[in-house]
């Protein structure tokens, strides 16, 4: 981009108010995600969405991406945990969207700003909803001889009426990489590993553990381990949380994909990824937020090999097309940015993209915020061949596309 201005909100980093009676905190966008939970812990609360980068990522960025995290299965995404936003549009207007209350009548612009990748306005203040800290917690590890069996275990946990705080899956390559890196005690002979976190009252956790154990055993788990104390829970999570850097040690470079699928299609999509892995001659390690069907295939490659970067991008694109084809989405939580613009053409038709463009124009008529991101132009979609557009039939030709 030429002649662009970079607007950093990093120094808007004050926690403006912690209001335990209303179970909210008012913070500036540059406040780190984890800093909120640290500031409110003494009142018995935490801020639930916890992306793996929570030690460094800012709440403003979380709003822009509608960030999730390993606990979003139970506690929701950023949009579920933000009660209000103060947003400036480029005409100089400052908008209070939502607030300390819940669901006032009228259009909910707060919800559409969440996940808008900075295209609609500049977030100046975030009112986050706080969640009471659960008194008890346990993590269960289950090792399986096949990904399909682990997938079945996930299905039976959830259809059995349980929504665990976290439910994560790793495949053989990811398990081995993580174990070699952080020595979490993972079974390296497993084809699939499940990590299930349960929280609530003591009685609740105890009851839920029995259900999860039964579900995993029924699906043939050959090893089960329960971590009841904080130290062993941290150890079990350490392998999962370090999975990306661990896989990073296996090859000079890796490309992290992010798509969501209906969970029932997991085996089918993994087969397709395995097939593509052979076709492209590139290894893939798989890490999933299993409870919500969010896949993170990590494609290993070497950017120094001529042509390999283009090859990996194409491979990744085909994984995302597969996600769309089974009824999923090209981005579960990492966003579209510029990287996935082409795949947006697979997921949305011209009229839908034009509706996005008009929505953008309602907030930012001159297209000045984050130009070229998140929503592809129709021209781009035509070029990548993902879309057929009759010339001149598009509406609002006078609007600049971004």
């Amino acid at each position: 981009m030429q002649d662009g201005l970079l607007l950093s909100l990093a120094r808007l980093n004050r926690i403006l108010e912690v209001d335990p009676a209303n179970a909210i905190a008012r913070v500036e966008p540059g406040v780190r995600n984890l800093a909120i939970s640290e500031a409110v812990a003494r009142f018995g609360f935490f801020y639930a969405p916890d992306p793996s980068s929570q030690i460094a990522c800012s709440i403003g960025g979380n709003v822009a991406e509608n960030a999730g995290g390993v606990h979003c299965l139970k506690y929701g995404l950023t949009v579920h945990n933000v009660a209000g936003l103060v947003v400036a549009t480029l005409d100089g207007e400052v908008h209070e969207l939502g607030g300390k209350g819940q669901d006032p009548l009228g259009l909910d612009l707060r919800a559409v700003v969440c996940g808008s990748e900075g295209l609609l306005g500049i977030v100046l203040e975030v009112i986050v909803r706080l969640t009471p800290l659960p008194p008890a917690k346990a993590v269960m590890l289950g090792a399986f001889h096949s990904l399909a069996a682990a997938g079945q275990a996930v299905a039976s946990i959830i259809s059995g009426g349980l929504i665990p705080a976290g439910l994560e899956m790793m495949d053989r390559l990811a398990i081995k990489a993580a174990e070699a890196f952080v020595h979490a005690g993972y079974p390296v002979d497993a084809e699939a590993l499940l990590l299930c976190e349960l929280d609530g009252t003591e009685a609740e956790v105890a009851a839920d553990l029995l259900k999860v154990e039964a579900a995993m055993q029924t699906q043939g788990a050959f090893r089960l381990e329960v971590a009841r104390d904080a130290a062993s829970q941290t150890r079990l999570w350490a392998g999962r949380k370090a999975a990306f850097p661990a896989v990073g040690r296996l090859a000079p470079d890796y490309y992290c994909m992010d798509g969501t699928i209906p969970r029932g299609r997991l085996a089918q999509v993994l087969d397709e990824i395995a097939r593509l892995s052979v076709e492209y001659g590139l290894q893939v390690a798989n890490v999933f937020h299993a409870g919500d069907g969010n896949l993170h295939p990590l494609i290993l490659y070497d950017a120094n090999q001529p042509g390999e970067l283009a090859k990996v991008a194409e491979f990744g694109g085909r994984i995302l097309q597969c996600c769309v084809a089974v009824g999923g989405t090209v981005s579960g939580e990492h966003g579209v940015g510029v990287e996935k613009l082409d795949q947006m053409c697979d997921q949305f038709c011209p009229a839908e993209l034009e509706q996005f463009a008009r929505l953008k124009a309602a907030f930012d008529p001159d297209g000045l915020l984050n130009p070229g991101k998140a929503i592809p132009t129709l021209a781009r979609c035509v070029e990548v061949g993902g879309m057929h557009v009759h010339s001149g039939t598009g509406r609002f030709q006078h609007l600049d596309r971004f």
Binding site: Q102, L107, G332
Partner: protein, 339 residues
């Protein structure tokens, strides 16, 4: 179970061409609450009905807009699931489209999330008579703007909902109902104390000098906490009556304002009911001057509603972005409303 989407699109196209307006209708169960939409002609969605995809293992249900909420809850109940937000069914009626378009949630809202929280995707006809799909049937989805949640609670001002996909929740294994005598101020204090703990609550409301609470979850947990919190046994029907307006809208002789407030706000003497652990107040207009809060609105048997929306230029531009000729629901939410 019928699909009349083609007819709906044709009606929108014709209305747009004729510069006329449409009032989008389902069961008409919320007319008293939100006001009947204006419009030259009714666009009835009741015929556009049927559950099109229900995947209990995936925690998702998709149905056409005219599907009765009662059909949806019955289908979920068979698989021991439910809508976590428990949207109101006034006089036992209401459609999925109406529930999403109004965005109203029941008493479990502060504990189990709002209806908007559970919306995963929608199909909509915009003011250009285009059939569009946003979101989908998966929980984590950040591709494109979150139009589904913007349209939730938009009262049909931006488009005609054709179908919606909602995340569903497991039905709690056990429910317990308790109440205790308490004045309003003490009730707010108690509500906030309990709401700030990790308790298996799914309802916490005060009305007529009594605090009511509902516990939901695994039997062992519910029994344990029920013992700790005390109180006396309550009528389980209380929560349905509260949800469906029978204790507020239907009983009050005067105009009531439904106010969304920070939950720890001290009670106003005019508050006849505190719901949502304090965040929702039903305030008697005759006894208070403090009701014109942002997003508040009224309802009263036999009189037209009033509302205190803040209709900004941004809201007007959004209306234009979806419905440039202002075909849909004149008088609700958008530019035609006086703020």
């Amino acid at each position: 179970m019928t699909d009349v989407a083609t007819d709906v699109i044709e009606r929108v196209r014709a209305a747009r061409a004729a510069l006329s307006t449409l009032a989008i209708r389902g069961h008409r169960s919320k007319s008293r609450l939100l006001g009947p939409p204006g419009g030259h002609a009714d666009l009835d969605l009741e015929l556009h009905s049927g559950i099109t995809n229900y995947q209990p293992d995936e925690l998702v249900i998709t149905a056409r807009a005219g599907t009765p909420l009662s059909d949806i809850t019955a289908a979920l109940d068979e698989r021991r699931q439910c809508l976590a937000a428990d949207p109101p069914m006034f006089a036992g009626r209401g459609t999925l489209g109406g529930a999403v378009a109004s965005g109203l949630s029941g008493p479990s809202r502060p504990f189990r999330g709002s209806l908007r929280d559970s919306v995963l995707g929608i199909e909509v006809v915009n003011g250009l008579a285009e059939r569009l799909r946003f979101g989908g049937e998966v929980f984590k989805n950040v591709a494109g703007f979150d139009v589904s949640r913007l349209l939730t609670g938009s009262e049909g001002a931006l488009g005609v909902l054709l179908s919606a996909s909602l995340r569903v929740a497991p039905k709690p294994e056990r429910l317990e109902y308790r109440k205790a005598t308490l004045d309003a101020a003490a009730a707010v204090t108690c509500m906030r104390t309990w709401a700030s703990q990790s308790l298996p609550l799914s309802g916490l409301a005060w009305i007529a000098g009594e605090l009511h609470w509902r516990l939901a979850g695994a039997s062992s947990v519910v029994n344990e906490i029920a013992g700790k919190l005390g109180g006396v046994e309550d009528d389980p029907g209380f929560w349905t009556r509260l949800r469906d307006g029978e204790l507020t809208i239907n009983t009050s002789p005067t105009r009531l304002w439904r106010c969304a407030v920070p939950p720890a706000t001290p009670p106003d003497p005019a508050d006849i009911c505190l719901d949502w652990a304090g965040a929702l107040r039903w305030r008697d207009q005759d006894k208070s001057a403090d009701f014109l809060l942002p997003g508040a609105f009224t309802c009263q048997r036999g009189s037209s509603p009033l509302r205190a929306d803040r209709v900004t230029d941004l809201v007007r531009r959004l209306k234009d972005a979806f419905d440039p000729e202002h075909v849909f629901n004149p008088g609700l939410i958008h530019a035609d409303t006086t703020s």
